[in-house]
Symmetry: C2
């Protein structure tokens, strides 16, 4: 069987890798992924062959995985969080038709919206949006429109890739767009290094978030109009029910 598993390994710790993801990695002859993800699981598979490529050569990496599988080796392509949320499941399935003998199986995992949300409390208890601020592959106008639509729908919002060296100031730009539709007192939060050493978190207002400096290891949460801070937690009620 020629197979590529594309595996969500969760935020980083072995405690958050599902048995299904472990089984896929167990079966693989080769583990593939960014160096940082491979490092997270290397201690679990000390002898296993690994194949890494730089962050930007994603299509090349996916093609190489499919070629390895075509040659008869089972491959596990590792993604942080979930394989299907800004992960590698898409590119692998897009290339799949070129490798008709290779079966691709997507193994889900705990994405940062969920693992980061748990650290902050329950920011995504009701309807929510996930938006990446990276304009590497997406025009900024599209990102801006999505931020506005998410605000107009009064969704809770989770922001991925809120910043990078090249994109300093993007979070402030996003906050300014949201502040057109949302109150400065809107409850927000951020989590850094989810499931890893150096975990940090903060619950703050949207006005304060605008002044915050975050890095690429941070996930940002913006509340709906119903979101509250309760005992240091960021909590969005499930609907509009009265507390019994």
């Amino acid at each position: 069987m020629n197979k590529v598993y594309v595996v969500g390994i969760g935020p980083g710790g072995a405690q958050q890798i599902t048995p299904q993801a472990r089984a896929a990695m167990d079966q693989a002859a080769v583990l593939c992924g960014y160096t940082v993800y491979i490092d997270l699981v290397r201690s679990l598979y000390p002898g296993k062959e690994v194949f890494t490529t730089p962050m930007t050569r994603e299509w090349e990496r996916c093609r190489r995985c499919l070629e390895l599988a075509q040659s008869g080796r089972t491959v596990a392509m590792l993604c942080s969080g979930d394989a299907g949320v800004y992960g590698m499941a898409g590119p692998l399935l897009q290339l799949g038709p070129e490798f008709p003998e290779v079966e691709v199986e997507v193994v889900p995992g705990v994405t940062a919206a969920l693992s980061g949300g748990a650290v902050l409390g329950a920011p995504l208890m009701h309807d929510f949006c996930v938006i990446s601020l990276s304009d590497l592959l997406t025009p900024w106008e599209t990102i801006e429109n999505r931020l506005l639509c998410a605000a107009r729908g009064d969704f809770s919002i989770c922001l991925y890739n809120p910043s990078s060296k090249k994109r300093a100031g993007y979070l402030r730009r996003a906050c300014d767009i949201l502040l057109r539709e949302k109150a400065g007192t809107t409850v927000c939060g951020w989590v850094r290094n989810i499931g890893r050493e150096g975990l940090e978190r903060r619950v703050l207002t949207l006005a304060e978030l605008r002044e915050e400096t975050v890095d690429m290891f941070t996930t940002v949460f913006i509340g709906s109009s119903a979101t509250r801070e309760i005992g240091g937690w960021m909590v969005t009620p499930r609907g509009y029910e009265a507390k019994a």
Copy 2:
């Protein structure tokens, strides 16, 4: 220590329960939750005390968990999928201030947007919204506005609770709202009984989805304008990149 773990157990199978969630259930003296969720894990913990309440008495159930913890027993409140997405993390944290000696810990899990997405391929590879069609706690006007805003933002959309006995026809109403903004040819999909026996899936158009009958065990996915069917998979490209 007086503690309540609120635990996301994933879609249903033991293979999708994280080690962190298992550890929380291991430590608990009492497992609490809907009968259907308790049944999913009962075989893992044959001797453990369980406490179940009907679907609608959620506040009562949360209060009882906190009382049990206050009396010194460690409790694990089980939620399907993730604890923080339409789960019990919110109500527990909202009641928490009444029980200052009790610590609440949220343990995340694989929610249906991720586990169902993996079955369909990669529908949520780029920015997405999660919306529940249940109007039990939310006015229908709010749901309708969120559907419109999600469509105007060209998000991929995942619908939870698309139907129930009392809400037959809600999916059709939702499709009609989306069809004001989206093409009838938009690629969609649904998954039923994720991670359980009787798994079913279908990839179809938005026009076809409007005619579909689904039940409460179904999760529905509606593509963005970029979503494609590729080899039977539902795939949303990660951005607007050219395929290398």
